[in-house]
């Protein structure tokens, strides 16, 4: 029998859910128009007034929010809650060196946790399960998000974070872990490390559920993970601007349920019009109840399609298909978002190397590796190998600091990197996902 965390909301009739969404949207728009200088001005510029929102479809009249808006209003210009109402910050790296800050009121954390409690329950998790959270903890939203979601449903949480993989395998066995949350590539890596230790995840552990995401993956990867590791693997979606990881597939594995009382999902074409049903486009999300940092029609940059019919699990909430790509040049390296522009900005701060670069991403075993090629400037060239090695490690260090992900650096001859050939030559993604 299907277990619902919040049966009243999750199985609500679609028409009833849409009524609720409209009321929440209307309230949200009035709230923003009254309290957000930024969004008030943007609505005025677009000639929209809260009174113009007379139906859920009228959401299309509202102006978009972009990642650039968060960056331009760094650190907290878009917050509408006073600082003493904010109980947490998360920070993600921005596209140009300036990070993006998300603040949460107590209610924001509560709803984020509720969203994951419903999601993890829909994957068949509950009291008695032991969840190893192998997403990064800290400024990144992955670790803490899953942590509180799993605790809410009464599961036991093992906050393993990323790294020290052999120990992760040992803990998985010793603490009888039944579920893991991490990137799909990290789970494959855990599987490989376990095999080297003479352990089969399938036969020697109790692992039965993987909640996997934060990077693109495919049905083929799911099949491989499920058959090799003997688990059910569920896709998870979310991004820090929306709170963090929020939504997962249910046991039907037919799309990720977007809880309609928390978020409204649109899929739009390049000109901002809704795509026909079943067609791919950019996912645009409105968070209907966020307090500290309200999000209206946020352009995620993720490409997907939406399915609004009732799911065979009984849940009436819309589902999005797994993310198949990006509308921009964002890369996802070991679950961390990286924009080539961040590399460019970081390099501009380093006098020994030029501003031209090339990023090469590949997968060694199961894990992503990023290489950045940079040119040594003429006046910083030294005959001493150790000086050149120092330049290289200092560039590696600076890039790691600004990208939050480690990469290796290759020094190349001046003038040898592609200059005007555009983005296709600046980034070589050799991963076969």
């Amino acid at each position: 029998m299907t277990h619902y965390w919040n049966p009243r909301i999750e199985t609500m009739e679609i028409s009833e859910l849409e009524d609720l969404q409209f009321r929440l949207l209307k309230t949200l728009v009035y709230r923003l128009y009254s309290f957000s200088r930024f969004y008030h001005d943007r609505m005025d510029e677009n000639g929209v007034h809260p009174d113009d929102i007379g139906s859920l479809e009228d959401i299309r009249k509202l102006p978009f929010m972009l990642k650039k808006d968060l960056r331009d209003n760094y650190p907290d210009g878009l917050f509408i809650a006073p600082q003493d109402e904010i109980v947490r910050y998360h920070v993600s790296s921005g596209t140009t060196g300036k990070p993006t800050v998300v603040g949460y009121t107590e209610q924001d954390l509560n709803r984020w946790t509720e969203s994951l409690a419903r999601a993890l329950s829909s994957c068949g998790m509950g009291r008695g399960d032991v969840m190893q959270v192998s997403y990064g903890y800290g400024l990144f939203t992955g670790g803490l998000g899953l942590h509180y979601g799993a605790e809410r449903i009464g599961a036991t949480v093992l906050p393993a974070s990323v790294g020290n993989t052999e120990r992760q395998v040992e803990m998985m066995i010793d603490l009888k872990v039944t579920a893991i949350a991490c990137t799909p590539s990290y789970l494959l890596h855990i599987g490989e490390v376990a095999e080297k230790m003479g352990i089969s995840i399938k036969n020697d552990t109790r692992l039965r559920i993987g909640v996997l995401g934060a990077e693109p993956w495919t049905e083929q990867m799911r099949e491989r993970i499920e058959s090799w590791l003997g688990i059910r693997a569920y896709d998870i979606f979310g991004t820090s601007e929306l709170s963090g990881p929020l939504f997962t597939e249910c046991k039907e594995q037919k799309g990720i349920h977007i809880w309609g009382d928390l978020a409204y999902a649109e899929v739009l074409d390049e000109s901002g019009n809704e795509v026909p049903p079943g067609k791919e486009g950019e996912l645009v999300v409105t968070m209907l109840q966020k307090e500290a940092l309200p999000i209206i029609r946020y352009r995620t940059g993720d490409i997907t399609k939406v399915e609004r019919s009732k799911c065979s699990c009984g849940r009436s909430h819309a589902r999005i298909h797994r993310i198949t790509g990006r509308v921009d040049d964002m890369l996802i390296i070991r679950g961390i978002n990286v924009f080539p522009s961040q590399v460019e900005y970081a390099l501009m701060e380093i006098p020994e190397v030029g501003e031209h670069f090339q990023i090469v991403v590949d997968r060694k075993g199961a894990l992503d590796e990023m290489l950045v090629r940079v040119e040594v400037k003429k006046d910083s060239f030294s005959d001493k190998i150790t000086d050149l090695m120092k330049i290289r490690s200092s560039v590696e260090h600076r890039l790691k600091n600004s990208l939050n992900v480690s990469c290796s650096v290759e020094l190349v001859e001046p003038g040898s990197l592609p200059r005007f050939e555009g983005k296709s030559k600046k980034v070589i993604d050799a991963r076969k996902i």
């Binding site: 005959d383 190998i385 290759e410 020094l411 190349v412 001046p414 003038g415 040898s416």
Partner: protein, 144 residues
């Protein structure tokens, strides 16, 4: 002591560690009729530094720079060695006794005998010590 005449101008060229780079450097020098007297390649992960003693360092520097290479002049000294067993030992012992630290070194054995080329922290100090301990240094005029 006059030490400048023993300071030899070596050219150092930054090079990526990939096929054809040495050929590109050698071809450029050939076309400008620059003769290479001694050379070595120091390699690190993914890149290297080609170091050479040439008869016309200025010409070599300008042609390689114009081709886009990172080129630098580096001061080295050249010590005469006996071209027989123990030749290197004699010199190495002198350097050790004098407390001279070698940054890098390479050697060649030509028609006039064997030569050890040294890059040291302080060339002037090293030149004085080496001469005082009885070894023979080659003047830069022997090279260019």
């Amino acid at each position: 002591m006059e030490t400048d005449e023993y300071c030899i101008k070596q050219i150092s060229v930054f090079s990526e560690n990939k096929p054809g780079r040495l050929a590109a450097i050698a071809k450029a020098l050939m076309e400008k009729k620059v003769n290479i007297l001694a050379f070595s390649i120091a390699e690190a992960d993914g890149f290297g530094v080609v170091r050479a003693l040439v008869d016309k360092p200025e010409v070599a520097h300008s042609i390689l720079s114009s081709l886009g290479f990172n080129v630098a002049f580096t001061e080295v000294i050249a010590v005469r060695m006996k071209d027989e067993p123990g030749g290197l030992y004699d010199i190495a012992e002198i350097l050790g006794n004098a407390g001279i630290n070698i940054e890098y070194s390479y050697a060649y054995s030509g028609k006039d005998g064997a030569v050890l080329i040294l890059r040291v922290d302080n060339s002037k100090d090293a030149i004085e010590k080496i001469i005082n301990l009885g070894a023979t240094l080659l003047k830069s005029s022997r090279f260019h």
